[in-house]
Structure formats: structure tokens, C-alpha cells
Subunit: 341 residues, 2 copies
Amino acid sequence: MTHYRLALLGFGNVGQALARLLLEKQDELRSRYDITFTVTGIATGRHGAALNPSGIDLGRALELVRSDHSLSSLSDSVVNDMLDFIAASRADVLFETIPVNYITGQPALDYLRAALKSGMHAITANKGPLVHAYRELTELARIKERKFYFESAVMDGAPIFSLFRQTLPVAKLRAFCGVLNSTTNLILTRMETGEDFSRAVAYAQSIGIAETDPSGDIDGWDAAVKVAALVTVLMGIPLKPIEVDRQGIRSITSAEIESARCEGKRWKLICSARREMEGVFARVAPEMVGSDSLFYGVNGTSSIVQFETDVLSSFSIIETDPGPRTTAYGLLADFVNAVTQ
Amino acid sequence: MTHYRLALLGFGNVGQALARLLLEKQDELRSRYDITFTVTGIATGRHGAALNPSGIDLGRALELVRSDHSLSSLSDSVVNDMLDFIAASRADVLFETIPVNYITGQPALDYLRAALKSGMHAITANKGPLVHAYRELTELARIKERKFYFESAVMDGAPIFSLFRQTLPVAKLRAFCGVLNSTTNLILTRMETGEDFSRAVAYAQSIGIAETDPSGDIDGWDAAVKVAALVTVLMGIPLKPIEVDRQGIRSITSAEIESARCEGKRWKLICSARREMEGVFARVAPEMVGSDSLFYGVNGTSSIVQFETDVLSSFSIIETDPGPRTTAYGLLADFVNAVTQ
């Protein structure tokens, strides 16, 4: 039986879903994986932070946040800033789910680096640190004999990175294409029912899928970051989002959507990358697909990625209707995979 | 560096593809996984067998079989029968790809059992032994501290069993559905272009997809065996093919196919299983699917399986246009996963 101290940095929808999943699966973690745990720290954006080396009551923490109270009543010490929090948590594993800046990967990048330097496993749902510091953080983890894992950074908790890392030996990824941005896919799906662009955006915002400023999704930045992450990790070719040939969905009109529909086709924001003689060509752009395409049936917030390797001609992963629990599961799976493999 | 002696029992399309893949990937196996190997035995159905403890030249073996010659010229001893062959190979890993009887799992089952008893890892592409002796062979492997792996038994080399085994901790499979039989999917796809049933069957036979007696596919037996294998392994509920509620595609007429086409729909032979209060309900039956179904775009010899777990709402794996190399890759992946994990 191995006991782990866990710290949760970020306690929004995903952080809370992770807390619930940890509670739900604690017996199975013990019986099947010999894993027991104590949560020694939770840091939130709006409800303070709690530190307690003898363990924070997760159920109580969820209740406090749900009723809009601070977590400080669960803390046995004062938290000054996030780097202090990480150090004071004395955790074995840091789960990081804070909002992040795609342009710099900060501040999540600093926190993950600090966690690894302190000898913690660093697990994130953030694409930012991945595209900005994958090599550095992976190398740091190797030196410290810990893991830097990030399954939930692309396609929520669906196994993508772990699939290549743990089940596909000697496979070389030649190319991939997919629909990787939920917001634009939902907007396009809504527009097919006759909604105009701005109403579809408003709907996506109303259900918490699109940001207040939706341009990161609509202009293809989020998709480009995901393409860069997949190319960097799975192809081993460092690629920045800015290097992805990028076009968003802003220019697609209701008339174009309707005209595609009449032809039995749909517009999708397609992400793709292909190895070339030197490096890689990576692209995000809207394309029309017909009903024989695997992408045609991937609608709303669902996503798909199709991989072309040198050993399996082509195989695809589809994730249907993900939610915070899906993302939280990716974090939990990373934790178990990190400590058991 | 760890050196492994390998024995290939079966040297048809898949066995030969495995030999080519071993040659192609030997440098990478050495550099990335510290694995070196010698093939000490090859047994074929029609070209004799070869045993050589100092290693058989795989290129030469491929050449001999291609030119319809016996492998006996590569052998330093006489092979009496397959159980003798397994023992005399003194291998660390047995790859078994012989034709098999779905009803009994024999004779492959006896060979896999013998290999495990001799302390070999046993790797098979056969569904038969899996549905008839999964628990026995897995338990035997555990006792011997070896592995019984079978990735290629369902959906060729696409990662299904390894996905659940190695990347999805604490996930509980509630249900799955899919298109898992290539032959019937190809026949239905051909019938959509106007071919009648018997011509579509003849085409599938001409390209080596359907057997001389195609009833195992057409009547849904192959699909039922795959459903039983997935239920047995992934749900942990032993299920025999005969317990699967089964209906094949024999009764589907060209008129029905055409009528579905006019409605924008397609017939698919759908495999499904769902946990129930006690046990599981498993079924193989033709169903019509519309263009919004993920199954609509899975045509010809491609296949799909959609999993519903308690942690990832729904995710699917699609394999497009598999061939012997795909199946061979599943065997190679099983080998690497068996010796590195």
C-alpha cells in the first residue's frame, strides 16, 4: 500500500469534479491499485486556499465552495501565494487546473516547474505549459524521477497521450487530422439548425463552453494550440501555435452552412498535421465534409482525431459529449498511471 | 539489453507480416526498448517447420514460403508435431496465428496452454482460445509470471485490450456497441452500390476477406465471438458466443438496402452489450443507422467500437482499412508490452 499526498491547484468545475471522483473511487484505488491518499492542499481562484498536512475533508471543501464560502476554515496555516502553497502542501502529486494564458503558458508553467523541482508528480489539464515547455518539464521530471502528465490537455480525458505512451510501441505517427475544438463545433452544429453566428456563440457562452471573449476558439487559436501540443508530444517535433497555418470560422456564413446542408455536407473546423521531409505541415481551417466522412457524425461538443501511423493504417478516437467529469478522469488516470508505471 | 527467443506458430499472411515487421523494427526495438531477438522456430500449415536455436534467417524464410518451398532446409532438427515444436523452440515468446475453431478454440488453445506451462509469454491473434479459456490462460500466465495477450483478436491491431489494461485505471465499462465484423460490413457496403448478396459475398471471398464457407461471418458467429471476447475480458463477465442473442445479415434484401439508401440510411451488423442487474445482455443484429450515427461512415472492412464507461461518457475507436500488417502490429505490440510492463 502506498500513500500519496495530493495538492489541488485550481478548484473550478474540473477541480471539483476531480475531488468528487477521488471520493467515489477511493475504495477501488485502495483495493485494485494499493493506493491511498490524503489531500493536503486545495487552492482556489475565488474561495481562498486550505492547507492541512493531516488531510482536508474533500466533502466539506466541496460543500463550502458550493455555498460560496472560503476554504480558509479548513486550513491550519495561512497561504501567501501559489508558490508558497505548492511548497507548504508537501504533496507527492500536484493537480493543476487553473486558468491559463495560451500565449505564455503562465502562470501554470511556473507552478508545474516548482512542483517538479520539489519532487512532485506534476499533472495538468492545461495546453499552455505543454506547448511552451513540454521538453523542459519532461526533462525535469526525468531528472527528478517523477512524471509530467497532461492527458486532459487535448480531448479532455480521452486517452490520447497515454495511448501512444503506453500501448503503441514502435509506432511512428505520420499524420493526424481531427475536430478538436468543441466551441466551434458546437457553433457550427447550432448554425445548421438555422441559428445565426452571434446567437450560436451566445448559446455556447450560456452553457459555459465559450469564453466571454470567444475569439480564442472562433479564430482557431485553441485548435492551433492543440495541434501544436499533439505535434510536439506525439511526433516529437517542437511546434508553436503561431507556426500552425490557421484560419477560424468567423468568415463562414449562414448561407454557406445552408448550401452545404443542401448538398448533404457539413462545415467542420479541421485540425491537421503531416510530417514532411523536414519538419511538419500543420493547419487549422474550415472544410466541408460529406456524410461518408467519419467527421460528419461528430457534432456539438464532441471531438475526433484520426491518426495515421506506419503500422496501423488509420485509427481514430472519438469523444462524445464530454464534461468536467471527463476532464477530471484524465487527471485521475494520469495520477494512477504516473505512480504505477 | 534483453534478448528474447521467439517462436512463430502459423506463417500465413499475418505470420509473414509479423516477420517483416520484426525485421523492419529490429533496430528501433534495440535502441528504444533494449530488446533484441532471435527467431528460433517457425511452424507453417503448408510449408513445414524450422527449428534453429541459433536463429532462423527471417528474410530467407519469407523467400522460401513466397516461392512455395518448405522451410525444412532452415531447420537443424525434425519437427514431429506442434507440441514438440513449441517445446523444442525453447522460446521466451510464442506468437500463435494458426487457423482456429471458434466452437472449441482448438487446437490453438492447447498450444497456448503448452507455451505458458513452459514459461513462455503466449501471444495470439485468435478469438477462439480467448472466449473458451480466457480465465484459465490468464491465471496460468499469472502463476508463471508471464503474459497471455491477444490484442489482435478483436479489431486487428487497434489498441482495445491494451487501452483498458494500460491506460484507463478505475474505469468501469457499462456498455459497448460497434461494427466488428469486416466481412459483413464489406458485403453491406458492396450491396449499397447495387451488387446482389451473392456477388458481394463472392467479391469478399475474392479478396481473401470471406472464407470459402462464409456462414461464420454472414450468420453473425464471428461478431458474436468478438462480443463474447469483449464482455469476458473488459467487463469481467464470462460469456460464451452461444449466449449472445444473434441474427446475421442473410435476410437483408437488396430492396431493403435500397430503401434505406433512399432515406439516407445504411444497414450495419451491430454488436452490442450492456451490463444489467445480473450479468449482461449481448446482441448481434442488423440495424439501420442514419448519417448522424458514428457508424454511418464506417464502411468496407473498417470497424468501430463505442464504449460507455462510468468516467468517460462515451468514446469510440475506429479502425480504417486494416490488413495483415495491422494484425501483425497487434502481435508485436503485445510482445513489447508483455516484456516491458
